[in-house]
Structures are given as structure tokens and as C-alpha cells.
Symmetry: C2
Subunit: 289 residues, 2 copies
């Protein structure tokens, strides 16, 4: 009996001595077909498990934005780090409003487990990233389940913080680029949480990075690096990094906010500062596991 492969290999490119892959699979969690980009550093098939960074992208992105534009593969190859970039939401479903609402439909998710119709049960990117994707990819590519890091951009930067806060020990190292600090307190987040979670704001706290810190969650032993461009057009109304700083400080958590003069919200900003993030993750992962 031949076992069906669990995913289809859409692309396989040599890159920096390693391999840049793109896979597609049928997701049980989301009940749709999903794509995911995976970079394997040189020597990843040699036997020793490879530490891995999960990258969560922002609103309107796919698995390809980080993969094409962040220039992360060069240093990941040098550091021996795999990169996994999932898509940002379920796709191809008939969920009402999904194609009209860029801020909460296709290309959005806030990496929550939605509880309100029509987004539940499909909009469950939390479980997809925390459970289904690692179970699918880690054994297949020899990735080290004891040495995972997480980072992301904007909505995905908040996703990285929340997934780390909600799942102690799952990620050994956490960082973020221009994250939405507190969806409960910004227009993007309020619209999305109202839709995904309903109108009872007390249920929102379990999906808000600042509220999770206030309610006792932490990131584990390693400091969290956050970079934020000061010329980012979303800074004041949507991102509000001062809320993250305040919540971390109140709890004594090591969250290092780097404000970068002149930088905007684009992937040029991510590319410009990906290096210190990857180096910090690699250092933390070297002592994890």
C-alpha cells in the first residue's frame, strides 16, 4: 500500500546552499487547501534536527511576502536555521464577506481561534500554526520541535507575541516587527475581534498580547526584541508599541523595543533589521531543547 504524501511540493529552488520550498496541503484544521513556504538551510537533510523560525505575515499577505522580500535566507543558511512562513488565513472558502473584507477576511486572521459565525470554525489559524503545521512539516523536514522561534510583521507580529504568550514552552524565542500591540485598543483589532470573537470584550483578553501579559502570561527565559519604524503610517492609530512596553515593564518582562528613525511599514524595514532578530533567535535556540 502506498501512503499518500501529506503535501504537494509546488516549488523547490536551490538557495544559499539550501532549499527554498513551497508546499500545498489539505488542512484539516481550516478545511481548505493551504500553501506554505519553507527554507531549509544547507545540511538540513544530514540527520541532525534543525532549529526553525516560524514567520507570521501581516494583513493582505501570503506565505510569499517574507520569502520573496525579507532577504532572510542568506543569514538563515549561515546560522543553520529553517524558516517556515505559513499563509495568513484560510483561502477558497465560501465564507460570507471573506473576499470583501481585507481587514478580517481572506488574508487576515489575527492568528486566533474564531468562535463567532461565519468565521468559526474555519478561521482557526492559532491551531493551524501551533498544531497542524508543525505536525506536518517538522517530521517531514527534520525540524527540531524543541528549538522553535517565532516572529512576524504587523498583524503577524502580534500573532507571534500572542502565540508565544498562550503556549508556554512551544517557542523558545520570540520577536516581532511593527506588531499591533493591542488589537483590543485599535480600529483594525476591534473590527476583527468583534467579528471573530463576538461582542463580549472579556473574551478578547485571551487573544490580546498586552492583556495576556497583564493577566500573567510570559515569553519564557529569553528577551523579546521588537523593532518599530518611526515613519510607519500605522504607528499612532493601529500599532501603539508604547502599550507593549508598558505591559512588559509592569510585569518585569524583558521586551526590548527598538525604534528606528525614518523606517516605514514595508518589507524594506523588515529586510533592514532581520539580521539582529535572526542572530538573537539563533543564540536563544542554541541553548534550548
Amino acid at each position: 500500500m502506498v501512503t499518500e504524501p501529506a503535501f504537494e511540493l509546488l516549488e523547490d529552488h536551490a538557495a544559499f546552499g539550501g532549499r527554498q520550498l513551497r508546499i500545498a496541503h489539505s488542512s484539516a484544521t481550516l478545511a481548505c487547501r493551504m500553501t506554505c513556504s519553507v527554507f531549509l538551510p544547507p545540511g538540513a537533510d544530514a540527520g541532525a534536527p534543525v532549529p526553525v523560525l516560524y514567520w507570521l505575515s501581516g494583513l493582505t499577505c501570503t506565505d510569499e511576502n517574507f520569502t520573496h522580500k525579507a532577504g532572510a535566507q542568506r543569514l538563515a543558511a549561515e546560522l543553520g536555521l529553517a524558516l517556515v512562513a505559513p499563509d495568513t488565513s484560510p483561502r477558497g472558502l465560501d465564507t460570507p464577506g471573506a473576499d470583501e473584507r481585507w481587514d478580517l477576511g481572506t488574508g487576515a486572521s489575527f492568528y486566533v481561534t474564531a468562535t463567532a459565525a461565519p468565521w468559526a470554525p474555519h478561521w482557526n489559524m492559532h491551531d493551524y500554526v501551533i498544531r497542524e503545521l508543525p505536525a506536518l512539516l517538522e517530521p517531514a523536514f527534520g525540524l527540531d520541535a524543541t528549538r522553535r522561534a517565532v516572529s512576524g510583521h504587523s498583524m503577524g507580529g502580534h500573532g507571534a507575541l500572542v502565540l508565544s504568550l498562550r503556549n508556554p514552552g512551544h517557542f523558545a524565542s520570540t520577536s516581532a516587527f511593527a506588531p499591533i500591540a493591542s488589537p483590543m485598543h485599535c480600529p483594525w483589532g476591534e473590527r476583527a475581534f468583534s467579528a471573530y470573537l463576538g461582542s463580549d470584550r472579556t473574551t478578547w483578553r485571551a487573544w490580546d498580547a498586552c492583556a495576556l501579559m497583564e493577566d500573567g502570561a510570559d515569553f519564557g527565559p529569553h528577551p523579546v526584541r521588537v523593532d518599530q519604524g518611526e515613519a510607519d503610517g500605522f504607528l499612532v492609530e493601529q500599532l501603539q508599541p508604547e502599550r507593549l512596553e508598558a505591559a512588559a515593564t509592569a510585569r518585569g518582562l524583558a521586551l526590548d523595543l527598538h525604534r528606528q528613525a525614518g523606517y516605514d511599514h514595508s518589507y524594506y524595514f523588515v529586510a533592514s533589521f532581520i539580521e539582529p532578530h535572526l542572530r538573537q533567535h539563533a543564540e536563544a535556540l542554541a541553548t534550548a531543547g
Copy 2:
């Protein structure tokens, strides 16, 4: 009297301490509106003229492929090198067939001066890259007209070689990624040259890198680096780097062909090997001018 600015600034992003710009302007040479991406390294506005690499992209590309995907800005910032990435063809004209023929219409050009209808007089990317664009950008951004390098990918790799061979002294340093070696001897090139230049093949020699070398042209004092992936699907039928090697060897020209096992035709290949190209250009430009 207020002077009209010669171009419109479409984008201006901080990147690696410098600026990633995208401009649009009305091209007199091509008689259409064109976009162009420009990276300025840190300190480019400090007064000293900045050496500049012109990058020519391949079939179906725009000015953005290299800019988004090659990861060149990091090292260009370190080396103090500006990057200019023009579009690959005229756009938005009513040229018959331009939108149907990806291999010679919109997104194609082979960087020639077309002489046959309907491509003449618009398909004149040679003069656009050699004359109009430098005259527009170099004074505006403080780029050093005595320290120009040129490189490119595929059709644009051949464009880099041909523009360098046809214009002695214009570029101080030349390189290419997976260039079409000899358009006269491959299907893409034969179709394009038939359309742009007509059926008299003797006129084609002035636009074919191998024929130009055979007929006495050279690249100037600095060696030319060429990288070619050995898993490139276009290698045998379209690219044929052995023709470049033979033509250079016959003339005693220093053309260093690096065959890279496992690499394909994508920008992952370009990104993987852009560093040695940029370092070689920067070294050559340091002694030019």
C-alpha cells in the same frame, strides 16, 4: 518660473540606512511613461558622487523584481553603491502584438534599438538605458557617471553584456546572471531579433554578445563574471553559456563563467550569488573614474 520636476517620486522607503526609491517619468526616447527603481546607499546626499550599478531584468519582469527579490540593498549599502533598475520595455503603447507576445512585446526588449515596424521607434531600450536614464538620474541623485557598472539576468544578462560591448568606457565593470549568450542562435532571440531588426541576419550581429566579441568588441580592463545555474531549465536551448566562453576565449577576453550546481533560473539563484558580483563591481569601480 518654476521648473517642472523631471520625474515623479512614487515611493521612498528607508532601507539599510539608505533610500529605496521608485520614480516615474515621461520618456522621450520611448514616448511613454516609465517607472524605475533606485537604491541610494547611506550618505548618498552628502556630496561625493556615488558609483552606480545598472541592473537589467529579464523577460516578463519590471523594475521591481530585482528590487524586491535579489536582496542586493544590504551589501550595496555596505559598499556605498547605488542600484538603478529600469523597467524591461516600453509600456502602455498601442503597438500591435505588444500585449499578446510576452517574448518580444511588453516586458521584453533585448535592450536593442528596434529598426523594424511596429517595434521601431518605441522599442529602443538601448538608448533609454545608455542615454536618457543616466541623464535623468545621475545629476538628480549625485551618481558618478565615471563609475558605472552593469549587470542583469537572462535577457537582461545579455543586455548587460551587449550594452557594455557596444559602448566602450560607458561601464567600468560588467557581469551577468544566466545570460542568453547569443540571441542569434536560440529560439527566444531569433524570434525577437526577426521582429525588432528584420530578416537580414547580418544586422543582428551588432546586437549579439558573441558576434560582437567575434567582431572585435571588448569589455574594457576588468574581468567579466558570469554565473549560470546548472539546473536552469533554459540552459541548453536558450542560454548556451558555452558560446560566451568560446567567443571570449577566442579573443583572449577575461570572462569567468561560474557554473552553480543545482541552481535554477529564479531570483533565488540571483540572490544567492549577488554578493560576489557586487564585491567585484565595487572593486573595479574603486579604481575607475
